[in-house]
């Protein structure tokens, strides 16, 4: 065996133990199943207590975005991105204010997916159900892809060698697929407990490690204070993070992440409102601290250890002007995400000896945990969306519960293989279209955020109509598509000037939300004003608070 990234054989042992534990949970989840029903496979019989619920919600929220993407973005753009941490308390509040109501209605009516509730409320069993399922797919697919990609990035740093990226990505995908397929929600939630604990510890330890590498808090912040002015101010090194963009990204990223299908199903799976009440508090307290005092400090320390400016004080850039990381970190704009792994691998063993090796390995396993815990939740949710919202409703409504769960398992295998292929093909292309983790993650969240107007209306206002909901959702999705990199791939520079200016002003999810809400409110108002009976009858009042 080769020496993994200079850390000896320790990573092999700890990683092996961790992956073995996950497989045991997969088997236990299967053996503890109460029935071969969709409700048991997808919602673990709606019986989760507060410890499991809070950790599975945290672990689903935390992805490679948190452990690789966030420090990578601070490393690139500087301290301004640390303020993105303020999205976490907003998500915490949403767990209670949205989640508790979603849970209660879901339990009363036996809902399994977000589309169940939305289609039923607005009386649209085909159109809205398919649209909501599509939104779920647009969120879950990129999220699965970026977690698998993170496994490859980690492996590449940890186990240098031929095909290290492909082996790491493949291993993460295969183990995750196995335990999700066999154990369903029960296995996913139990593994999330282990992974949630690991990643909370990993994030905090990473921050402590970064500070220790520079000699403690005093020397750390003295060195940070000497960073280039752009690293200590908004909009940051690349000029991307204007306060307005940061505000809309923070606000809607948190809400979009909390109403994405995997979290929505976790609300259904909670045993009571009190479970979600406690989860909200733990989430807001623990996770924000992990960001502020953990991974964000790694990005800042990274700028000190691996400066972005070259010997003559100029930023290293590509031919097209994109800023590049220090050559020891990487050679492409997508390599900023590697800063945490590089800092740990290159400095901790030197600083702490054998203890540093173990610490560095634990944090690296935490990155794996962050990626796997999000990949498993999204794979599981994807399976539910396709099986329950499409197969059960339109393809084979007469299928038995057992057949449905087996179709769901088959889908998990198929989606994992496809996502892995996509990651590997993208990696081998000259311009990796999957790019940086944060950019792809924010795009997925932007799609999911489009469910927000309907969710708020359904749970609190109950004034919207079916036609308003459908038109608003389509408008929101179209707006995001136009502002995403996909449009420029298809249409080249068409409307490039206008779209480019829009993207710089506020987050693309917020633009989608503006058009979505505007159309939703306008159409619903017109229909109610004209007393259109079909519209008013379509939207049912189900929430009794």
């Amino acid at each position: 065996m080769s020496d993994p990234g200079g850390l000896g054989q320790t990573p092999y042992v700890i990683l092996g133990l961790y992956l073995g534990l996950l497989l045991i949970f997969g088997v236990l989840g299967y053996r503890r199943r109460q029935s071969e029903s969709e409700e048991d496979y997808y919602l673990a019989g709606r019986s989760q207590g507060w410890v499991v619920s809070s950790l599975t919600i945290m672990a689903t929220f935390f992805s490679s975005f948190a452990l690789l993407g966030a420090p990578g973005m601070v490393y690139r753009d500087g301290v301004v991105f640390a303020l993105f941490s303020l999205n976490v308390p907003v998500a915490g509040v949403a767990i209670y204010l949205l989640g508790a109501r979603i849970r209660r209605i879901g339990q009363d009516r036996g809902y399994l997916t977000p589309a169940d509730m939305i289609a039923d409320h607005y009386g649209s069993p085909v159109g809205l159900r398919l649209l909501v399922a599509l939104v779920g797919l647009l969120y879950a697919v990129p999220y699965v892809v970026i977690q698998i990609q993170a496994g490859g990035i980690l492996s590449q740093q940890l186990f240098p060698g031929t095909n290290a990226f492909e082996i790491g990505a493949g291993l993460l995908a295969a183990i995750t697929m196995v335990y999700v397929t066999i154990g369903g929600m029960r296995s996913v939630a139990w593994t999330d407990v282990v992974q949630g604990g690991l990643l909370v510890a990993g994030m905090l330890l990473a921050g402590i490690a970064a500070v220790a590498v520079l000699g403690g808090p005093g020397p750390f912040f003295e060195a940070v204070a000497k960073l280039p002015p752009k690293s200590l101010s908004a909009p940051g090194t690349t000029g991307r993070w204007t306060p307005e963009l940061l505000f809309t990204a923070s606000l809607f990223a948190s809400l979009g992440s909390m109403i994405q299908p995997a979290q929505w199903m976790r609300f259904y799976a909670a045993r009571s409102d009190d479970v979600l009440r406690r989860s909200a508090l733990i989430f807001a307290a623990v996770l924000t601290l992990c960001f502020f005092f953990g991974v964000m400090l790694v990005g800042l320390g990274g700028q000190v250890l691996y400066p972005l400016l070259d010997a003559v004080g100029e930023y290293r850039t590509t031919a097209t002007g994109s800023i590049l990381p220090h050559p020891s970190v990487g050679s492409t704009p997508g390599d900023f995400d590697q800063i945490l792994v590089v800092v740990l691998k290159n400095h901790l063993p030197e600083l702490l000896g054998p203890a540093g090796v173990i610490l560095a390995t634990l944090i690296l396993v935490a990155i794996m945990a962050a990626a796997m815990s999000t990949a498993d939740s999204n794979l599981h949710a994807l399976s539910a969306l396709i099986t329950h919202d499409v197969y059960d409703q339109f393809i084979r409504p007469e299928a038995s519960q057992q057949q449905r769960t087996w179709v769901g398992r088959g889908l998990i295998v198929a989606v994992t293989v496809l996502a892995l292929l996509l990651v590997i093909i993208a990696r081998r292309s000259d311009s990796n279209p999957l790019g940086m983790i944060v950019i792809l993650g924010l795009l997925a969240i932007a799609f999911s955020t489009q469910l927000l107007p309907m969710t708020v209306d359904m749970l609190y206002l109950r004034r919207g109509t079916r036609q308003g909901a459908i038109a608003g959702l389509i408008a929101g999705l179209m707006t995001i598509f136009l502002l995403s990199p996909f449009w420029s791939m298809i249409a080249g520079a068409a409307f490039g000037g206008v779209l480019g200016s829009m993207k710089k002003m506020i987050d693309i999810g917020a633009w989608g939300l503006l058009f979505n809400t505007g159309l939703f409110v306008a159409i619903s108002w017109c229909q109610r004003r004209n007393q259109d009976p079909s519209a008013v009858q379509g939207a049912r009042s189900q929430v009794e608070s």
């Binding site: 508790a100 912040f221 101010s233 505000f247 909200a280 807001a284 924000t288």
Partner: protein
């Protein structure tokens, strides 16, 4: 869940929204150093000013959540 609107609830909502708007939003302009000014100061209490700004607004957000948790969020179904 308690749905009656009280002055205390309104205060908490306003404080929470202000914390997002000021902490991670346009409020940053109030403390953002001007990179074109050679005399600009980038730190407060030895830490980057923007980082201190974020920590302060986090304290406000968490304070609001704590009050809401103990006073308004009730375990209604148990």
């Amino acid at each position: 869940m308690c749905s009656i609107v009280t002055p205390m609830k309104i205060l908490l909502i306003v404080l929470f929204l202000a914390a997002i708007l000021l902490g991670a939003g346009p409020g940053i302009h109030l403390v953002n150093p001007d990179v074109t000014d050679p005399a600009a100061s980038y730190t407060t209490f030895g830490l980057p000013t923007i980082y201190v700004w974020g920590l302060m607004w986090y304290a406000v957000q968490f304070g609001v959540i704590l009050v809401a948790y103990f006073r308004f969020w009730k375990p209604s179904d148990e």
